[in-house]
Symmetry: D2
Subunit: 336 residues, 4 copies
């Protein structure tokens, strides 16, 4: 019944699991956090205690819980695809954090399992639910800026992750730029070709780990438009997340978010504080909005706002970008 | 024990009661919503169901609940002082929405009851906890702007309340400007004299009800600084809440808050959307922060961040402003 | 003939005289700088050499120059009224820097002389020709902001003049605020009553000289609107010149001007440089625009954009403000 | 003698010639406009009359004028190199509008003539003298933003030139982007490789003429940094000229310039007017500043601020960009 709350099982009680768990328990009308499972049983128990949920000793047990209708997968990336398959086999609808996997065959197998099971799958590209990007999207969809022509995405982290993490991250394109590839698709549609330039400017250790920390990617879109993505692992002034969409009738540009709207004028400068420095803070509202959207779509029977195909596509772009970087030439997505 | 959560009883389950109730139940570490009481028993029950709290049939019953250590008073203004007295007599610490009362004798009696009972009292001037005003305050306290000299407060509502409400509101100074009088005190300290000018420009019905809808108040502060407050019951572009503090070493100015940070450029203009339109939305975070501050102060045994005296002072200023408006002359607070 | 350039005699070759002289010689289509006169003959000669003009040994001689059709009076304030009278008697049209005089009887005699002679007189309230204030005015005139309700003028100097100057300046209201009184009239029309509050916060020497350096003035307008002016002799961050006009359909607010539009983001702040620091720089374009307007009006036979009455009115407001400050009460302009 | 004004001959009395002529005649201390020459003798005469200069019947005659010490070449692009050679042969110092030529052999021959004659040559890349770009440059040079890492140049015209002009323009990279290539070099130094993507989105006629109207160029700099240039022939909201330089210690970003600093808030939006729409208006001050710099460098014997090599380099980048566009691959400048 639509009046009954959707029972959700949470897989993963780490950083993002805590955010999603609290959101489901407290801020998603129509949802109910039933049970939590984590390889770290203590973490699962602590979160369950805080949120008034049960714990499940395994994903299998969680999936068999009679009140679990859907799962939210927040475990480590390598478990996403296996858990998607398990959940699909159990007939549960699925919200899965990005990326599904870094291997296309693995992704395809997971998506096939979802399709065969006839369950719903949404991928957690949270930025689509940020009020800034949503407003830019609206400006495009509504025709406010006319035919899309140029897109510029600025996406810079406040600081690089540890080199140890870099080594297992799959590389900047799969780890960081993948959000921007999704944003590009969200705003301007399918990408057909990419050209990537990269450099190690932030930390030589990142270079020694075989990765880059600074990148510029040129995108050709199926609609003829052209885009650029500008990445750095370290913007000293904070988390720099902006986009500008330019079209035949105008442009829509989003600025960073700040903790306050205060300007200080002194004998030295007219200044304000730094942008929000942490993705959890910057996108806190977006994390909530995406789960509300997931639950609403399930309850209303409407299409998933971010599909499995949406989860697959940025991985293809990332692979093309990596190939482009290595070969210093534009690479068509059809080559991947 | 500091490790045990503070049990709170909520008095009033109306608009602001719902906000405070949800905040206590879900977003104040160290607090627990025990029970709710409202003259509208159904409203109390609905909120209690949603938040997992009990209901109390009366304020007296609520105060006798063994787990209630503090109360949050969100009932109608005329009940604030009586409930403060009851809660004080029951030895409970108190958070009370502003204003305590509109009659100074009533306020004084309530404050005396609090003092005699030795309980703590905090008044809900939520704007002090808004990140913009807090940043301006910090700029003053830290000396960033030097010696305070000039203060300008802009406080305009998106639209007037119904005339029926205006009639029982106590007038614009007690109903609306009281927040600005508190802000003035929060930022620049005690006020010694006021001069008020007012007009009916928004709705003749407000004038017929004996009130004004547009006002400018000049403030003289004890520290020698000068301030102005600029009020309107109707800013068509939304809720306009700004302040500028000017001093010998600089100025701190806060802008309005918006739902997004997107600029749209077209052939007509470079524009953004309107400021947040509703006080609940504009000050949502501040409502949470003030309750966190209340609970922290109680648990840590530190002074209340907004005292009973802070609750009384703006009422005195409001009365002086009204006298000034009627007599068209500056009025010293000592005349009240 | 309209095709012939208007011959102008410049009286006064000091700071503002140089600006006006160069403007007339080089940037006013339809005008020609014929001759210059200054009590400092060397200054007149130097400017004449630079601008390719003649010098006149006296104002009388200048007025008799056959090619002089209009005069621009930039000499010291005490000579404004006498030179207006002389020019009027000689049948020359007149542009005179503000103020005409600080004594109303002197002003009235000068204006009477102008009227009797049937010559044209424009007063140099240059800020009316600034693009920011002109845009705000347009927003009012066009109805963009609806019925005017509230006006807030911020006018702060980057630093006080020498105390020696303060002593002969006529006081802050006649020396500095007079521009703001004119701005108030320009934007919202006639003022009927003022209330002034003042303090010495910048320099005790200013107080010892019998003046104030910080002031807030409340204005009641004939149209029912209310205004405030906020003055300081010293804003450490530069020349602070802003206005906000609020009405039933919206608001128009002008920001300060800067030498560049560059924002610097570092680990400390997101900042820009300071506003333009000097009135000559801030209002350079306005000085040119006002003389173009003067010459155009003369050549086209259209009304003077700033009349003698416009020159008189702010002096009346200044006197009322001074009386209000001294008596700490609102003063009607009809009392002056 | 340093005290004598530098005599300048102006070659070309068209649109930009008028601007430079007026600037020299009126706003460059230390310079004097001696004579003007144009293939359109009437245009030369009209400008000479307005500015109080002589006319010369030919460039040869102009170069033989005994008072001409330097020339300012504003004639059509195809005459730049020949006139540079003539002026060099006559021993005159030279300011020449960009580009020197579109053929590298022609440029090299002209630069060789300059070198052999030992005269000075400055190329008119005016944007370097704009206060916004100068401030960004200062932020780089001073170390404010640390080691340069990423550069993003936005350069969009308010509307395309006529297709007839497009056909003889040499293409967008030589006609429009050349300014941005120079800006890239000005801010981040030498470019080593480019990758260009382009499209016809504004006007099919431009495509039929063999050109593009929308382009994105990726630049690799010799210092390891990466840049992007984002061009459109038509931004409906006006002339869009911005840059963002990002480095290890921060970022410097310039905004567009506007005719006023007024914000209008209504029930629909919070908006301002459009950016300055015309390059003459946008860069008016820069045109003056560059000529002041030229004359100062000549009089002080300091190096030319924009050299012949600076004039050649962007042409090389433009040719590489064109090759990249045609071959859809990154092209090293060493290939040109």
């Amino acid at each position: 019944m639509a009046s009954e709350k959707l029972g959700i099982g949470l897989i993963g009680a780490g950083r993002i699991g805590k955010v999603h768990g609290e959101t489901i328990a407290r801020r998603v009308p129509g949802a109910r956090l039933v049970t939590i499972c984590d390889v770290n049983a203590a973490a699962a128990q602590a979160l369950a205690d805080e949120l008034g949920a049960e714990v499940s000793p395994s994903v299998e047990a969680l999936l068999q819980h009679p009140e679990v209708q859907a799962v939210v997968i927040c475990s480590s990336t390598d478990t996403h695809a296996p858990f998607i398959k398990l959940a699909a086999a159990a007939g549960k609808d699925i919200f899965c954090e990005k990326p599904i996997a870094t291997d296309l065959a693995v992704i395809d197998a997971a998506l096939q399992a979802v399709e065969q099971a006839g369950v719903k799958l949404m991928i957690g590209f949270n930025r689509r639910f940020d009020s800034n990007y949503a407003r830019v999207k609206q400006a495009i969809v509504s025709g406010e800026i006319g035919t899309p022509q140029l897109l510029h995405i600025i996406s810079r982290d406040p600081g690089p992750p540890p080199v140890a993490y870099i080594k297992v991250s799959g590389g900047i394109f799969l780890d960081m730029t993948i959000h921007d590839f999704d944003m590009a698709r969200f705003l301007f549609g399918d990408v057909t070709e990419v050209y990537a330039v990269g450099a190690v400017m932030v930390d030589p250790g990142i270079g020694e780990a075989g990765d880059i920390d600074t990148a510029v990617i040129t995108l050709k879109f199926a609609n003829g438009a052209i885009g650029t993505i500008d990445n750095s692992r370290k913007a000293v002034y904070g988390y720099d997340q902006r986009v500008e969409a330019f079209g035949s009738a105008g442009a829509a540009a989003s600025e960073n978010n700040y903790s306050d709207a205060v300007t200080i004028s002194t004998g030295d400068s007219v200044r304000r504080g730094l942008p929000l420095n942490f993705f959890m803070e910057r996108y806190l509202a977006a994390y909530q909005t995406e789960l509300v959207a997931f639950v609403s779509a399930l309850r209303d029977g409407t299409p998933m706002p971010v599909t499995g195909a949406d989860g697959r596509a940025p991985v293809v772009i990332a692979k093309a970008a990596l190939k482009s970087l290595r070969e210093n030439r534009p690479v068509k997505l059809s080559e991947i």
